[in-house]
């Protein structure tokens, strides 16, 4: 199986099908991240679409020193943040997002697991959007603090503070919800 770097190289040489392979490899991850940040399937679909277009047009600017997935997911996070900024009323949007359900959960997911994940997804949407993006890139996508800082264009110290605040907020909310 070709590595991401090989596929990017082939794509830059004009082999457009190589890009399709990259899309197939990462479309679920791009969509999931967008959904977790935006909280709504249709908005996530638009953002994922935009992220792929942007990845394609900016492919010549991709630096192979960085993993392709990191580059792609950072780009996706930025697209989501821009999409949110473009929305007229944040309040209205957050309300809609809080009501929205994740699309088609797989059948084999256990009920308890699913409930917990839905609760977490709902609580994530209570976080300020930048904290949410930082938490998702760091914990969910496993990026480093410096990578998250570069993606969100803030100092590393800010990312660390956001992660701390977000995790503490989630801890408190989960405790309230699950009534420990």
């Amino acid at each position: 199986m070709a590595s991401d770097a090989q596929l990017v190289e082939r794509c830059l040489r004009g082999e457009t099908t190589a890009f399709d392979t990259l899309v197939a490899r990462y479309r679920d991850r791009v969509f999931s991240l967008a959904f977790r940040i935006l909280g709504e399937a249709s908005a996530a679909e638009d953002a994922a679409q935009e992220a792929w277009l942007r990845a394609y047009t900016r492919l010549p600017m991709y630096d192979p020193a960085q993993p392709f997935s990191t580059w792609l997911l950072c780009l996706t996070a930025r697209v989501c943040l821009n999409a949110r900024r473009a929305r007229q009323t944040e309040q209205h949007y957050t309300e809609r997002a809080a009501k929205a359900q994740p699309p088609t959960p797989t059948l084999e997911e256990r009920i308890y697991e699913r409930e917990r994940q839905r609760t977490l997804q709902r609580l994530l949407l209570r976080l300020p959007v930048l904290q949410r993006a930082a938490v998702l890139l760091y914990y969910y996508e496993g990026l480093s603090v410096s990578e998250v800082a570069r993606a969100l264009d803030v100092p590393e110290g800010t990312v660390k503070t956001w992660l701390y605040r977000a995790r503490e907020s989630l801890r408190q909310w989960l405790q309230e919800e699950l009534g420990e």
Binding site: R13, V30, A48, E50, E109, V135, L170, R171, Q175
Partner: protein
């Protein structure tokens, strides 16, 4: 112990992420041995982090990529490619200037015959247009 715990909280967080210096780590570990409340908090934070890591990947709907433009058919492509040859033949028959065979030998078959039009540059142009269209639509 409440205020000591509050003061220590950011360090506690950094401890769970492995960001602390050796001396700070010792300080935190010392406190954790004495304080069950902070021990509980650390355990809860680990649980939150693990729950975030374990969020499932969701199946994405098929991306609606713009459909590729149809490539020109073979006949117009060949016709286009033969233009320079035709020009030379017309010149041969009509004008005072008679090209020789050596003129033809400098003629290389155009790349559109040998290479599909569906090149990266072409697709790129299409995608950029698509992005621009979307931004205008905003």
């Amino acid at each position: 112990m409440k205020s000591a715990c509050n003061l220590l909280e950011p360090l506690l967080h950094a401890y769970t992420e492995g960001w602390l210096s050796a001396s700070d780590r010792l300080r935190v570990e010392q406190h954790l041995r004495e304080c069950s409340a902070c021990r509980q908090k650390v355990a809860d934070w680990y649980a939150v982090a693990n729950a975030l890591r374990e969020l499932p990947t969701l199946p994405a709907p098929m991306p609606r990529l713009p459909a590729p433009e149809p490539e020109p058919r073979l006949v117009p492509r060949l016709a286009l490619a033969m233009c320079p040859v035709m020009a030379l033949l017309i010149a041969w028959h009509s004008s005072a200037w008679r090209p020789t065979l050596s003129h033809l030998s400098t003629y290389a078959p155009p790349r559109i015959i040998t290479k599909p039009l569906h090149s990266y540059a072409h697709t790129m142009h299409r995608w950029i247009a698509e992005v621009q269209r979307r931004w205008k639509a905003f």
